[in-house]
Symmetry: C2
DNA sequence: CCAAAAGTGTTGAACTTACACCCATGA
DNA sequence: TCATGGGTGTAAGTTCAACACTTTTGG
């Protein structure tokens, strides 16, 4: 840890102690989609090599979900992000050595239970914000990730697994794709999330069966080949299938 | 609130403050199965009408999962319970008026973020324990529940929904049924969880296809009709399907 | 016209659903 | 023996994976 971060921590510690709930934090795994790649928004603390998930603390009079939204808005500039709380992490040793050189009464050095959210957000609507603690805030490819600090690798992997599981019964795409998109683009999003190739014909049929897509009278011109049809999500049907699920067995 | 509970709270407050993490609690939705009914273990605080979920706090040097296990063991006498952390609850107003007559610095009156677990446990292995705070600890039918305190109704419903969702890709039964059981018994467990009737033949085939059952050379004698075959779970296959899931779409 | 990608059709296997049928048992 | 519940069979419809075929586009 370098001196800048150390001084920032010492300076902010009493303020945090006053404003925030102790022992509890929020971490966000922010997914985006760009250039056929699934991305995740990571930050780098000043003077540390390892990267971490954007996170923060909960104000003493603030709802948990509100806190997650606020933290993400501060970090991305985007409002009303799709957020899904998926698990809390509370091993005693999870923060390990990051603050080992700091005084024991430093706010940030205490033990935290972290409530983790994953977020789906349009890559183009995000302006990564570098805050007081951090030296960088960048999108990273999920298949080419840097070293993580603390247990953030575990949290990230848990988020990706949860997202993949959610694909089984929730629609995904409204928050990750632009307004208009083609079937092949949607398919590549699914392939990026699942990290495996899907059969084109079967994917088309399944998506159509879900009934959440409106085919537009336009095609995506400009490619070197046949112009694919453009689609939009049917907002109502999408919302309905988000709430009621796409395929239950029982 | 009656005087007994009030005095207990005042007495325990400083001890809690010393031993536990502040602002964070654990609540458990404990499911059991008895007499073809899905049950949930509830407690009643001394002098209150409404019922609540068994819960507790996290020791300052205790892992989150350990805490949940400890809390349940204290309450049920059972060890190594199947626990599934499914969500955390953190609305600012969630504890509402329960402690409104108590001093503001009472440990129990502070605002909590509660990490909720659901537990599946053999009804016969539980001995409900009434602790210092509570007047009662009893199994209740999930289709005939009393009034809940705080947001525990929400937490309970969320747990049941999660359990139903988990039925889609996890086996259930090892923790809720006795060692040996019949197909109709297993089916009635599923029906109790889902609160809907299932087709017998199709249920049989699905369970067999999962490959987690061993058919025994015994039948359940004593009923008024044809003696049904007895089954056991194949522990290895069960564990494997718990980890890898039973049916993924993609 | 050609290559390549988009869109659609086909086919057999697997699974679901909804029944029907037979079997075993105690009353 | 008979009512009842347990176990299995079957036929129609649906979904699936895999693959082939047709269409559309820019070069």
């Amino acid at each position: 840890m370098n001196k800048t971060l150390y001084n920032t921590l010492i300076e902010l510690s009493p303020i945090c102690k006053k404003d925030y709930l102790s022992s509890i934090s929020v971490d966000c795994v922010v997914f985006g989609f760009y250039n056929d790649k699934l991305k995740v928004l990571l930050i780098q603390l000043d003077g540390l090599d390892a990267w971490g998930l954007p996170g923060g603390y909960i104000l003493k009079e603030e709802d948990l979900n509100k806190a997650a939204n606020r933290i993400l808005e501060e970090r991305t500039g985007a409002k009303d992000i799709f957020l899904n709380q998926f698990k809390s992490f509370g091993k005693t040793n999870r923060s390990e050595n990051v603050f080992k050189d700091c005084p024991d009464d430093l706010w940030h050095k205490q033990r935290y239970i972290s409530v983790a959210f994953y977020a789906l957000i349009d890559y183009h609507k995000v302006t990564p914000v570098v805050d007081k603690y951090s030296a960088a805030c960048e999108w990273k490819d999920v298949d080419n990730l840097p070293d993580f600090m603390m247990d953030h690798q575990t949290i990230f992997e848990s988020a990706l697994l949860q997202l993949r599981k959610d694909l089984n019964y929730k629609p995904v795409g409204l928050n990750l794709l632009p307004e208009k998109f083609t079937m092949p683009e949607l398919q590549r999003l699914y392939e990026a999330i699942l990290n495996k190739e899907l059969n084109r014909g079967n994917f088309y049929r399944r998506m159509k069966r879900y009934g959440i897509l409106n085919k537009l009278d336009e095609t995506r011109k400009g490619g070197a080949h046949k112009a694919p049809d453009l689609y939009q999500f049917d907002k109502e049907a999408y919302k309905c299938s988000l709430e009621n699920g796409l395929s239950e067995i029982w």
